[in-house]
């Protein structure tokens, strides 16, 4: 067993995780204010927010395997922070699309959702994320009961591939980047399947 951290050390680690999640946003804001987002700043902003949302969703899925493999079960306490940050990035991604790109043209948004598969999938992923964000508090875990809460949060296994598909569909020619994210997702799922099998074998029937 690893040595327990003191309360201050624990807080310091926590602050580090929080800052790491916040850094891309701060960096984006800084570049925005100093006019360093390139010739098409609005596009850069929307894309960066989307990509960081997806990355954090994947980091959230890395936590459980990492905790098991590294035998550091307390890593799991970071999952909620990371998940909520992912939600924040995706929400800002959606808001900058609606607010800056479409300039609150909700008619156009609705048309996009119906007509453009990449928006349809993105929107679906976002809508599915909402209940996860809402039920992220301890209160909700107790209210729902562990098992039901856990089952609800399995939605993430649908949300992440929807996000990857959303990315894949908007790429014009070079599909490598979304495929890399998709491969990371599959690897993480592969580990889970492997782990489940192993456990099933270990528990006698």
């Amino acid at each position: 067993m690893s040595k327990r951290l003191s309360k201050t050390q624990d807080n310091a680690v926590y602050a580090g995780v929080w800052l790491a999640c916040f850094a891309p946003l701060a960096w984006l804001a800084w570049r925005g204010f100093s006019g360093d987002l390139g010739a098409n700043p609005i596009e850069t902003l929307i894309r960066q927010l989307g990509v960081w949302g997806l990355r954090l969703l994947l980091v959230g899925l890395v936590i459980t395997p990492a905790a098991r493999i590294l035998r550091k079960p307390r890593l799991v306490r970071f999952r909620r922070t990371i998940g909520l940050f992912a939600f924040a990035y995706v929400t800002l991604h959606l808001f900058s699309y609606i607010g800056i790109d479409l300039f609150f043209d909700f008619g156009q948004l609705w048309k996009d959702i119906l007509k453009r598969p990449f928006i349809t999938l993105g929107m679906l992923a976002f809508v599915l994320l909402i209940p996860l964000a809402v039920t992220s508090t301890n209160g909700w875990v107790i209210r729902m009961g562990r098992a039901a809460w856990q089952r609800l949060h399995w939605l993430i296994y649908l949300i992440v591939p929807l996000g990857v598909a959303h990315y894949y569909l908007l790429v014009k020619a070079d599909h490598r980047p979304p495929l890399v994210y998709g491969a990371v997702f599959l690897a993480l799922m592969g580990w889970r399947v492997w782990e489940l099998r192993k456990r099933a074998q270990q528990t006698p029937a």
Binding site: N40, I42, E43, I100, Q108, K111, D112, K115, K172, A173
Partner: protein
């Protein structure tokens, strides 16, 4: 065909003779010092008159030269500016052949010296939904085509971009089927607005913008403008073009700017002019309908997109 009255044509006069002469003397001076080679390098000024232009404010040079789609150098907008320094646009020759009586191979310096260069400030609308206003320097493609005497079999024109994976890192991966080929119908190619550009903002074309020679067809989406062209072929059949081969439903052969025909994945009704906050309406034929709509009379532009 003559370009009739042009409402957005501002300054049809020749360049201020002072400027013109200065450039001439500068070039002559450099040549005299044995620095003629220098005059052919990036940022070397060209000598030109002012031609058909929009009055709209040109997009800053920095944006025009750092935000590019030129997949030969990579798929990110910044790649062409960042990853094109190994590319050698000189010496350069272009082969013009196919259905013509006098096929020829011509060097870039001869093309520049042998044609009357004009500055044309054109709108450029990308199929992705953004636009720029770009001061090109070049000459009408029709002058070049006339020089090889096209035969009656010449119905289309194919433009082939150079293939040099050692100098163009994006060609190391088959994002598109290299070499990049674009094409026009012969009447589109002979239209006086269709330009062969050799310069930008008064200087020789930078690598990232298609050096040393590129096509500019202002009423079509930007991808129709082949860059770093090594071969122009007159053909009887429409050439197979790069984007059309990749996704025929998304990128048609004509690719005329048309707000009424959406790309399957996004709307073409509006565009973001770089530097502007709100999107603006996209104009049919990118605002050049008055001069080019006749080319498509009677055609169903929803079908021939």
């Amino acid at each position: 065909m003559l370009i009739r009255h042009a409402p957005d044509l501002t300054d049809n006069d020749v360049t201020d003779p002072g400027v013109y002469l200065q450039r001439r003397t500068l070039m002559a001076g450099l040549a005299g010092l044995g620095l003629a080679g220098f005059a052919g390098q990036a940022n070397a000024a060209l000598t030109y008159t002012k031609g058909f232009s929009t009055t709209e404010k040109p997009t800053p040079r920095k944006d025009v030269t750092t935000y590019n789609n030129f997949y030969e150098f990579g798929v990110d907008k910044g790649d062409p500016a960042e990853k094109s320094d190994r590319f050698k646009p000189r010496p350069w020759t272009v082969r013009i052949d196919g259905a013509c009586e006098a096929p020829r191979t011509v060097g870039i310096e001869d093309l520049i010296a042998g044609n009357k260069l004009e500055e044309r400030i054109y709108r450029m609308r990308c199929v992705e939904g953004w636009s720029m206003v770009i001061p090109w320097v070049g000459f009408p493609l029709k002058d070049l085509l006339a020089s090889v005497k096209p035969t009656s079999k010449a119905k289309y024109v194919a433009f082939e971009t150079v293939r040099r994976p050692s100098e163009m890192p994006g060609q190391g991966w088959n994002t598109l089927d290299w070499p990049y080929v674009e094409g026009l119908r012969i009447d589109e190619a002979m239209h006086p607005l269709t330009l062969m550009a050799v310069g930008l903002y008064g200087d020789v074309l930078p690598n990232q913008n298609g050096a040393p020679l590129r096509l500019v067809v202002p009423w079509k989406y930007g991808f129709k403008g082949g860059k770093s062209i090594v071969r122009i072929t007159l053909t009887e059949k429409p050439p197979a073009t790069a984007w059309n081969k990749l996704a025929p439903r998304e990128y048609g052969f004509y690719a005329n700017v048309n707000p009424a025909v959406d790309h399957p994945r996004w709307s073409q009704a509006t565009e973001r002019r770089l530097g502007e906050f709100r999107r603006r309406e996209t104009l049919p034929f990118n605002g050049y309908g008055e001069w080019v709509a006749d080319l498509y009379r009677g055609m169903d532009l929803k079908r021939f997109y």
